[in-house]
């Protein structure tokens, strides 16, 4: 074996090893940069005013995102009310009752639905809610966010239910209870951690969604005016303020981003903790 050939191979191995480490390092570096800047700018501009005051007039300093924070919470609640029953029931159907063929088909469709760009979901919600109502509304935004949530909830619920061992199902049925009672009373509790982490993941996802809100919720200068009126939301406001030419608004955008990241990453880390605990 030639000495030169061997050295070349050895060095190629080292270079490739270094490159792959560099690749992973680069990805983490980007994460650190994004989180770092958001943290730094956000903390600097986050103050009590921001949390407690409503948005100020255009261009003027002061004001906060109180209404938008509430708006996000309201929309999350609304979307969950719409999406959770449908998502959970669909997941139960796929895992417990449907024929294998049907379960496969629904699963496939759910995966496709999960891949639809959120702005297209917004256009759909506009067409079926905003247009007939002739008004932007919290309801339409809730519908849009619910459509995004449903596939996530359904698939994670299904997968969690599938993990419940068959022996549990058989034991439950041997007690003579009906299948639905068995599912609700025995199997679901067994899959509860997985189901809850799925719900939390879906919430973390929609908490940060902006595109579908642009022409459903629209945003509002005032606070909550009812489900049939426009409503502000945190990510939407971040978008509007960031795109504006006013430095004060841009600072508020950073503060809002900081808050939003806390919420989203907090949920994601919690989810990870829960699923790790479940596995060990």
């Amino acid at each position: 074996m030639s000495e030169i050939g061997y050295l070349r191979r050895k060095w190629l191995n080292r270079i490739m090893s270094a490159l792959s480490s560099a690749a992973a390092g680069l990805a983490i570096l980007v994460l650190a940069l994004i989180l770092g800047y958001t943290l730094a700018h956000g903390i600097a501009f986050l103050n009590l005013d921001f949390l407690t005051r409503a948005a100020g007039p255009v261009g003027e300093a002061g004001g906060g995102m109180r209404n938008e924070i509430f708006g996000t919470l309201i929309l999350i609640t609304l979307a969950s009310i719409l999406a959770l029953p449908i998502g959970l029931m669909a997941g139960i159907s796929m895992a417990e009752f449907a024929s294998p063929k049907m379960a496969y088909a629904v699963r496939f469709v759910a995966d496709i639905l999960a891949g639809v760009p959120s702005i297209v979901v917004g256009v759909f919600a506009y067409a079926i809610v905003v247009r007939p109502m002739h008004s932007y509304s919290a309801l339409s935004a809730g519908v849009a966010l619910a459509i995004i949530m449903v596939p996530v909830v359904a698939r994670t619920a299904e997968e969690s239910l599938r993990l419940v061992p068959n022996s549990m199902r058989e034991a439950a049925l041997a007690l003579g209870i009906t299948r639905s009672r068995a599912v609700i009373g025995v199997i679901m509790p067994g899959a509860m951690t997985g189901i809850i982490t799925g719900i939390m993941l879906a919430i973390a996802r929609i908490a940060g969604e902006t595109a579908p809100l642009i022409f459903t919720a629209l945003g509002s200068q005032f606070g909550f005016q009812g489900l049939t009126k426009p409503i502000g939301a945190l990510p939407l406001q971040i978008f509007r303020y960031a795109s504006s030419p006013y430095p004060d608004w841009q600072q508020q955008a950073w503060a809002g981003a900081f808050l939003l990241i806390l919420l989203v990453l907090g949920i994601s880390i919690l989810v990870r903790r829960l699923s790790n605990r479940r596995q060990s």
Binding site: A27, L31, G115, A127, L260, L265
Partner: protein, 329 residues
């Protein structure tokens, strides 16, 4: 004891009747429940069908007016009611291509690092961190992109590229910062997590015997990866990239904030542009008139169709990889 004889007293009869009634109620509620779950599952299918139907209906005014010319026209004139999708389609494809070009080597490298090179204590945390990148909302990445990345690109990348390689039409024009290049970088950041995760699963699925057989021939670690591991999970890796493409095509907020909102076909990477998603996001609220709105909905329809095809194709590839894996075990 007369236990096997039916109790003919009134109380006995009532007891039997009550038992049967509760059982039938149980069966009834059972039926209701199972049917409800079925309805929910079908609702998911209905939503998807609804998408197809509603988007087509609302895009009809534009489809009827422009027909196939919509795809190849570059005009966007609300006054004259003349709209075309070409610059948006071009922008979507260009920014996604740049994004993938940057993301694929980084993702593949990270996946290889996570499965083959990294010491085992490092794998969990590094995986976790890369997944965190996926959890960051698009609007925040856009915010960071607008105020941190764009100035950096303008000052350090575009000026340098323009001075060194400015003879190429790709790098001509004033360095705005916002534009296709920044949009491409932002998209790369957004798709790296998903390509890495799926690639990592594909590489992990390669049986150890393959690695050991290659090593036993006197191969280095890299040679083992290149000759034995990567070819084995080829289809899974391609599936990962296509899934990333699907994600990139539909990405809205981060791209909208850094692409500069210019509706034209330009060769330069420095120039501002638009994607389908960014065009819809920018103009939907101001759109009036059936044709205007219809055009935007038609854009949405195009995006819907393309991402649907891409995602289905990717799922089939990735699914085939897991089936092959199961069959060889």
């Amino acid at each position: 004891m007369k236990q096997n004889e039916p109790d003919k007293t009134l109380l006995g009869r009532v007891k039997v009747w009550a038992k049967r009634w509760t059982a039938s109620q149980g069966r009834l509620s059972d039926k209701i429940f199972t049917n409800l779950t079925l309805v929910s599952a079908l609702l998911i299918v209905a939503i998807l069908v609804g998408f197809i139907v509603v988007l087509n209906i609302d895009a009809m005014p534009a489809i009827r007016k422009f027909g196939a010319a919509f795809i190849i026209s570059s005009s966007w004139d609300p006054v004259k009611d003349s709209f075309g999708a070409l610059p948006a389609i071009y922008g979507t494809l260009l920014s996604s291509a740049i994004g993938l070009l940057i993301a694929v080597p980084i993702s593949l490298g990270s996946a290889i690092f996570l499965t083959e090179m990294a010491p085992s204590w490092m794998r969990g945390p590094v995986s976790f961190l890369i997944e965190m990148l996926a959890a960051i909302p698009s609007v925040i990445i856009g915010l960071w992109g607008l105020f941190v990345l764009v100035p950096f690109v303008r000052v350090h990348i575009e000026s340098w590229l323009g001075s060194k390689l400015g003879f190429l039409p790709l790098f001509q024009g004033p360095p705005f910062g916002v534009g296709f290049l920044s949009a491409g970088i932002i998209l790369a950041i957004m798709v790296i997590p998903i390509i890495t995760a799926v690639s990592r699963d594909a590489v992990k699925a390669v049986p150890n015997e393959q690695r050991e057989a290659m090593l036993a021939l006197g191969a280095t670690r890299w040679e083992t990866i290149r000759q034995a591991v990567l070819p084995y999970c080829r289809s899974g890796l391609i599936g990962a990239v296509i899934l990333g493409l699907g994600r990139a095509l539909g990405e809205t907020m981060a791209v909208t904030m850094v692409i500069g909102n210019n509706y034209a076909l330009t060769a330069s990477l420095f120039s501002p542009g638009s994607t389908i998603a960014s065009k819809i996001a920018d103009e939907f609220n101001e759109a009036t008139g059936e044709v205007f709105i219809g055009s935007l909905v038609e854009l949405a329809l195009v995006l819907f169709a393309v991402t649907l095809l891409v995602n289905v194709f990717a799922r089939l590839l990735v699914w085939r990889m897991t089936v092959v894996k199961a069959e060889t075990e």
